[in-house]
Amino acid sequence: MNLTQIAWRNIGRNRRRSVLSVTATAVATMSVVMLFSLLSGIADDMASNLTRFYTGEVRIRNEEFSTYEYLQPLHLSVDNAEATVAAVEGTDGVAAAVPRISGGGAVFQDDRRIALLFTGVDFEREREFSNIDEIIAGGEIPVASAEPAGPSGPSDTSGPRLVPAVVGAGVLDRLGIGLGDRFTLVTRTAMRGSNAMSFEVAGVARFPVPALNDAGFWAPLPDVQRLVRMDGEAGEVLARMDRGADERAVTEALALSAREATSTPLEVKYWKEIETTYSFIEMAQVIYSIMGLIFFILAGTVIINTTMMAIYERKKEIGTLEAMGMTPREVVRLFFTESLFLAILGAGAGLVVGVIFASILSRTGIDFTEAFRGVDMEISPVLYPKITPLSTVVVTAASIAVGAITSLFPTTRITRIQPVEALRDE
């Protein structure tokens, strides 16, 4: 008969109390497992959206652009865009690079002014870079054209052709148009003048980010360059790295290559250094860890309570065991082991249930569309929890640890009782 076996049997003595302890721990553990899985899912989602559609993994811009970013200073551009992209692509550790020009313009319909976000892209490169095939919901991605829209020269009287664009599904709703229809956008140019261009809806995209979906469209870079008078220039060059690449090293290397390709003074930043809502994720992780700890401590109070009750009820038994020659430490170990078993059972149960729910949700997703209405973050409206070592193993270990540690409070008090006092009661 060893302590562990006795401890194990003892938790069956008061079923109701043990179930209470186990349930409290299980509920806390399950909640935290799911919370962390959700958070992992959000982090992944945000990272994907940011790197695909906003910052890439490394973003190269004119170094003055960020200072005046809110004014949309197109003229603060990157010269020699093509050469810069090629230089970045050729850098070791870079998987893909794309040039982009983004800006805001307006479509005038009846007496409505509809603000839209345009992005000039190299569609061929974007297939690789941001996997746009995945978000196309209708029509197709424009094939690279031989030359941009607009008259080819003074003698060309054919008039401008429509520029094919991939348009966010929400934009089409707002404009009340569909595949094959056209719209005309007016915008400021890099020369701080004005220009307009007509687009044809060649493809419909479901951008994962609602802001892009409702206001964004992509058009071929050469046409956009013409629209905003930025021939040969780009607003930014974005890069993605090979899996497992050393971020620091590759960022430095491609910065070097880029600077050789263009005379524009550049700002080159790894995406996590750019201030985006992603930093909230990292903050959220800290906050959730604290919340998780609080949950476990709360569950721990249940364990403290049940342990105290057990000790109280078994005082005579404690006295007997000590009379038989069990040292106070050994008695403490006995009760501690019982609490540990309960904590393990509870955490284990919570883990299993939490993982089951998180798995199901990771497939079906949780639809936050209503909740996120009006929220302008780069998070998709449907989120998929992700089960990770952190959200499972670490959480469970923490749960058990807190449960075990909290049980030490009542149990170590046993050492202060004289055997005769313990035997005296009743």
């Binding site: 000590e322 020659g325 430490r329």
Partner: protein, 229 residues
């Protein structure tokens, strides 16, 4: 084997001070089958507890086989009890989740010994106390007398030098009580274990080889009827 000198024990109960034992001097020889008797409040249980070093005296000394055990720390006392003492309680005090055999084995498990020897001892003691066939029952399924047999077996299986029994027959009917008493007396004879009881049961007082009477914390009579052999 037990030498008690000038033992004093006082309790605080609320505002009152209770002098449980006043300057007790006592010596008990090895192998004695002694009873400490007296009305309730006389201090007999207190004396037993002090001998069993589950309580600490305020003044005086208790020597068991030359060791002044109460002077040590809780752990040392526990170890001393482990190796040298056995207890039998009025209300049996068995662990409810363990079977009879497991309860007995529990006291053995605290000691270091090869598994074979353990098994041997268990079998022997179960037999001696007459519990063969019932060793797999939990206390809930044992009668009072059977439970007390388990308790006795538990106390004796480790072959202690001294067994302290606090009113062991109080919760048993007279027939069963007598049987238990007989059992303990047999074991006292066969194992040469010293037995000290506290009791107010006349039957026990009768069977004791030596009867020490306490009143108000003092020894008022010490009657040695039969020498220990």
């Amino acid at each position: 084997m037990i030498t008690i000198t000038n033992l004093v024990r006082t309790y605080q109960t609320g505002d009152n001070e209770v002098r449980a034992l006043r300057n007790i001097d006592l010596a008990i020889a090895t192998g004695e089958f002694a009873a400490i008797a007296g009305p309730s409040g006389s201090g007999k249980t207190t004396l037993l507890n002090l001998i069993g070093c589950i309580d600490e005296p305020d003044e005086g000394t208790i020597e068991i086989n030359g060791s002044v055990v109460h002077a040590g720390k809780a752990k040392e006392r526990a170890l001393f009890r482990r190796e040298n003492l056995g207890f039998v309680f009025q209300s049996f005090n068995l662990v409810p989740v363990l079977t009879a055999e497991e309860n007995i084995a529990l006291s053995l498990s605290l000691l270091d010994m090869p598994a074979a020897e353990r098994r041997e001892r268990l079998r022997a003691i179960i037999d001696e106390v007459g519990l063969t066939g019932m060793e797999d029952r939990r206390p809930a399924r044992l009668s009072g007398g059977q439970q007390q047999r388990v308790a006795v077996a538990r106390a004796l299986v480790k072959d202690p030098k001294l067994v302290l029994a606090d009113e062991p027959t109080a919760n048993l009917d007279s027939e069963t009580g007598a049987a238990i008493l007989d059992l303990m007396h047999e074991l006292n004879q066969s194992h040469k274990t010293t037995f000290v009881f506290s009791t107010h049961d006349p039957m026990v007082m009768d069977r004791a080889d030596r009867l020490i009477t306490l009143r108000d914390g003092r020894i008022v009579d010490d009657d040695l009827r039969r020498r220990a052999s």
